[in-house]
Symmetry: C2
């Protein structure tokens, strides 16, 4: 699956993923009013609103980018209807030719991790029939429980040609509380990186492994070290834009051929119209503002990585 | 909320939680056949089967125990219908007077963690209305991302009188890969334990904090150290029974008054009828086998903790 992502990145010339994290605060009033009129001020109403919001943005940016990354928490907060909007979003993005990275940060042990893997990037058997419940192409995975937690995901990747991105160094301010602590002279995130190499060894798909990693744009020096430490792992880079990561910082995450990393922006794209720089678009043209923000982000990254 | 759990433990004299992790392999053929007849060999059919299985077990054991712990992965693997079965199970357990620990192991950062917290143990506003989407009483939380990931859960606990159990030392064989590594002479899980104390300071509810922790029964010596290190944190103890943890090992997790820990068993209870020791019940009486297994587990723990 990582090979497919690399091909799409080459084709679009955009190592960019749009984070579909539809907070209700980002959704224009007109969309909310319409959805609430139809479904009431209910979980169904909220879910309809975020789905219509997503759809408008996807319709406007899909030709520019290789992939989207819906953050499942923003759907899960609306319960079952929210998760139905998540699934609708995954399916619609597939229809538009986009790859889907499910930002689910799941992780458990043994058969439980296997169940999460089947739910998101695999298949489940019921009697003699087989289903792909949420059917994302990639999922993000939390490594705190060790190999018992990650290997079931890797097995499913191998069986179904899918991929994962394992959290190594996250973009948030307090990520260092545990991740940066030194163990035998090396930070924990480097020990996790070693394991990412080990977990991914048997999952090569072209030049990269289906086992990738997450390293935050907000930590460019660590990004440089981790880029070298995990030569076969594609890096999913959150934290660009709203979280403070700058284009110039991104060069560290890429290989010299411009591959090896894909940068996420969520709020900076989907809520661009609420940003000073794009306010001239106005709320009615929120999706056009998102398109312009994607174009500007791609240019920013091109400038950075040369 | 932890106060309520302690009261229920005292009343039932059972520091025991039944893990509702309904793998299809555990569900008797008769239940599956009926569900598939009604809904086909579909995700809906599988979800109906696990729901009926859960219901029969809950009906048979609810008077013996204070709480249940549904593992959401086992529902999520059946997609939307599976999550509907999860929600039905949560609601039904509440109807029967049980507390519900959602074993969701969520964890992200900032507003994303807040969304997970609202989804599972909090409330979400849609327009002027408020909803509790999944409405569990407790949730399990992964600490790898640091305070940014956990504090939003704590805030929701404080706002809605709910609780969390933070993963400290998990029960699986490879949990030591990262959790046991020494940082300034102390294992990572102890550093996480320090943070559990810090996160829980402002959430006292009776003698304990609404911020508890998870420590596996399979590591009794670490359990003893962690019991002392986190005097205000209730310990949720997985790994008893099927994973190898023995009754005698459990004494380490409890305080001298017999409180301070609650022990989970999943497969050992819900699939008891498939176990040699309870095979005389037969598949038709699977729920009675579960009841007997609960009674035996409570006795085993009483013997251990005296």
């Amino acid at each position: 699956m990582i090979k497919k992502l690399v091909e799409k990145i080459k084709k679009t010339q955009a190592p960019v993923v749009v984070g579909l994290d539809p907070n209700l605060k980002f959704v224009p009033e007109k969309i909310k009013t319409k959805a609430y009129k139809e479904f009431g001020e209910t979980l169904e109403g909220a879910s309809e609103a975020i789905w219509q919001f997503n759809k408008a943005i996807v319709d406007t940016v899909y030709d520019l980018i290789p992939a989207v990354k819906p953050q499942i928490a923003m759907y899960e907060q609306f319960g079952i209807p929210g998760l139905m909007a998540f699934k609708k979003t995954v399916d619609y993005c597939h229809e538009k030719g986009l790859l889907v990275i499910g930002d689910v940060k799941r992780g458990d042990i043994g058969s439980t991790s296997e169940s999460y893997a089947k739910a998101h990037i695999g298949e489940i058997k019921v009697g003699n029939k087989t289903f792909a419940p949420f059917d994302e192409d990639f999922a993000t995975v939390n490594p705190y429980l060790g190999s018992d937690g990650v290997k079931p995901f890797v097995d499913v990747c191998n069986a179904c040609d899918r991929g994962i991105f394992v959290l190594v160094k996250t973009s948030n301010p307090s990520s260092g509380e545990f991740q940066d602590r030194l163990i035998d002279g090396r930070p924990l995130y480097e020990w996790v990186a070693d394991k990412v190499n080990e977990w991914g060894e048997g999952s090569m798909d072209g030049d990269y492994s289906n086992v990738g990693c997450v390293v935050g744009a907000t930590y460019p020096e660590m990004g440089a070290a981790l880029r070298k430490l995990m030569p076969k792992a594609y890096i999913l880079v959150p934290g660009y834009g709203a979280q403070g990561g700058k284009g110039a910082d991104l060069v560290n995450f890429f290989n010299s051929d411009g591959l090896g990393a894909i940068v996420n922006s969520s709020r900076g794209i989907i809520a661009a119209y609420q940003n000073e720089a794009y306010s001239s678009f106005g709320e009615d043209n929120f999706a056009d503002a998102s398109r312009q923000a994607v174009i500007d982000m791609i240019e920013d990254i091109h400038t950075a990585i040369g």
